[in-house]
Symmetry: C2
Subunit: 429 residues, 2 copies
């Protein structure tokens, strides 16, 4: 039976079964074999740059036909240097410390049993993503590094690019000791494929959706397989009573303006009432100068008005406090004190990233203890909430659910641990 004559269900079941079988060999592979395979994949991507560019051009032409422009079209583009960068990223994952093995937390029990925990692959990871075809190579590299097989399901708008990349990856695997079947791409655009994929709980251990909130919610609602969610980032910076102006201004502007379209950008600024008159006017002036629209609470409005600050300032509505603008817009609220800031964050945060600017150790400690977001920063920009910046290397995403992995996820977050017990014939009495 060839792909052309198979039903969507057969294609998906075939892919997940093949991945499950390959995951058994992957679990027995050595660190050296995994590193060598990733190097071979990087080389193969470089060798096939022409084919990848040609495939990507087909996707771009289709996007043009559909009138896709701007950031959407940019995300789809994979040409020239972008392909070399992709190969370099795979090579970087290859050279990372191996996440598997060990015999952690070893204890010898009173009956002489040696008990330890050994880090193992999760098994089969299904990645469901949109647009950006480089996810195909990034996700495959991280999953293989951690000893997993992967089933890739990219968006139909990038199908040609994803196919060409998967072919390059599999050619790299073919030149290695790892099984080619460890990387599977669902090769058809049918939407039904995702629903079928989410029912293969015997052959898939984990689903990672990556894309808009709609995609993530739909996958979570339908999946019988555990899902690691990457929801939005409604990130806060709180300026404490003791926050020095220069530091506060630098952090707020960096967090808001440096790259407003990403999930670790600042969305809501909270200012302690005691420092608001000193801090708010100059910081607002600077942000307005950066082209930021401010949506402010009544207290902030009064302070800015009294200080004679004018420009793109509007009154915030209740909806603003939960908004992920991903744009040059900032909501601003004056709060009575640290506890009021913590209340606001508990109510409106997306558990992604929050920061405090303060010179007071007690405030910093209280903020760090009370805020239950995946990254909590003291006197640093929210933009550091990123696997590379935190020292994890490449990341497969940023988890905002607390199960398994919370925050940026690297190769180690694609593993789990089993108990290994070494005995000499012990039985239980």
């Amino acid at each position: 039976m060839t792909e052309a004559t198979m039903t969507v269900e057969e294609l998906v079941v075939d892919a997940t079964r093949a991945a499950r079988a390959a995951s058994r060999s992957m679990a027995r592979s050595t660190a050296e074999q995994r590193t060598a395979a990733l190097r071979a994949i990087a080389t193969s991507i470089e060798d096939r740059a022409t084919e990848i560019e040609a495939a990507n051009s087909l996707d771009l032409a289709q996007a043009d036909e559909r009138g896709v422009t701007g950031p959407m079209r940019d995300r789809l583009r994979l040409q020239g240097q972008a392909i070399s960068d992709l190969a370099a990223a795979v090579r970087e994952v290859a050279e990372q410390v191996d996440p598997l093995g060990g015999f952690e937390e070893e204890v010898v029990r009173p009956n002489g049993l040696k008990v330890g925990r050994v880090r193992i692959p999760i098994g089969v990871v299904a990645m469901i993503y949109e647009s950006r075809p480089n996810v195909t190579a990034d996700a495959a590299a991280l999953c293989l590094k951690a000893g997993n097989a992967i089933v890739l399901r990219g968006g139909s708008e990038a199908l040609h690019s994803n196919r060409a990349l998967a072919d390059a990856i599999r050619a790299g695997l073919a030149a290695s000791d790892l099984p080619v079947e460890a990387v599977q791409l669902i090769p058809v655009p049918d939407r039904a494929a995702v629903d079928i994929l989410l029912q293969q709980e015997d052959d898939v251990d984990l689903v990672i959706p990556r894309g808009g909130e709609g995609l993530i919610r739909a996958v979570t609602a339908k999946s019988r397989i555990p899902v690691l969610q990457h929801y939005k980032g409604v990130c806060h910076v709180f300026l404490d009573a003791s926050a020095p102006l220069d530091r506060a201004s630098a952090i707020v502007r960096n967090a808001k303006v440096q790259r407003p379209g990403v999930c670790n950008a600042l969305e809501t600024l909270l200012v302690h009432a005691e420092s608001a008159e000193a801090l708010l006017p100059p910081i607002a002036e600077a942000l307005l100068g950066d082209g930021v629209e401010l949506r402010v609470c009544p207290s902030a409005a009064a302070i800015l008005d009294a200080a004679g600050v004018s420009g793109a300032i509007v009154a915030a509505t209740d909806d603003d406090w939960g908004e992920e603008y991903l744009d040059l817009i900032l909501s601003v609220r004056v709060v009575d004190d640290l506890e009021a800031a913590l209340d606001h964050i508990a109510e409106h945060s997306s558990s992604h990233t929050e920061a405090i600017v303060t010179d007071d150790d007690a405030s910093a400690r209280a903020f760090v203890q009370a805020v239950q977001s995946s990254t909590v920063l003291v006197n640093a920009s929210t933009r550091f909430a990123d696997g590379g910046q935190l020292g994890l290397g490449a990341e497969i995403g940023i988890s905002t659910s607390k199960l398994h992995a919370f925050g940026p996820m690297g190769a180690r977050e694609l593993t789990t641990r089993k108990f290994v017990v070494l005995g000499e014939g012990q039985t239980r009495s």
Copy 2:
């Protein structure tokens, strides 16, 4: 509005909201406060033993009316010594090492940022369980130890007992620095309450079902909240070519006979073809003497027949290989070699627990590396796959899904980690 006039939905939403609010105080509690509260809960359970016994007697009387007998009725019984044991178990959790806090894996980044991981509570845990009312106290104690709030939803057959226990626990909390609202019991038997509970994704972070496979599958299918599954244990012992008879026999008999009704009991025995003639007849004789029924493959049947072993021996069907008997029944299969044993386990195991009996280091290593179950034992009984036996202290269950926690789960498995970043004004360039 009183409980009596509230709808089921209002009751459930009220309970989960109260738990969420309490979880904020719990996250800021100290280790000393959590220990003191658990001691107070243990004392409160002892102080209210009479009320708990009376409530349990009502449940037992209802069970008698419905004709419930045997193990089902035994599981429901909570009288006399069982209540003292429950208080002692809570006291044991109180004295465990605190699982929260720390600043693990600290690194200083090139820009001077200090990055570490701090262990925090998951938040709000919902426990959905059947029959055994002691889960009410065990689960509450472990969740509180780990700084979580808990929503308890026990079976309707134990509703009076669960209410009395929850009252005792809350009285203990009232005498402590922790919020009483950190322990919530859904106080009505309506089945709709579970469905509503599984939709409160904003207020519940984790669902742990504990009970039969039907309950677990239903919860997993309906939940919008991450679920930690505790499926069945189809545990295997593999007797290698080099397995010495005395050790093999002791481990197999212990694993099968000592307590056949639990999830870490042996269900399928695999025997290397080279050792089958020497090992199978004496081990089968011993098991038959223990009252075990054997369901055997054709090779095993031929070996037992040739050796003149007779008794409760029947031919195994294909269904036997996936069966969790929880009874004095054992399926037996002769396999060509270690690889064939690994293939059988990969196909039929429930990822719970498997053991090898061997004198060969290479076989032991290969088995430990290839078997991806939550507990893998060398020369020891499968019955050791248990939180207490492995040194975790009390366990809230044994996870057979690889996400977050795999294998026995203690208090630490009810926590997660956040990134904490300490800066001096760093911004991203």
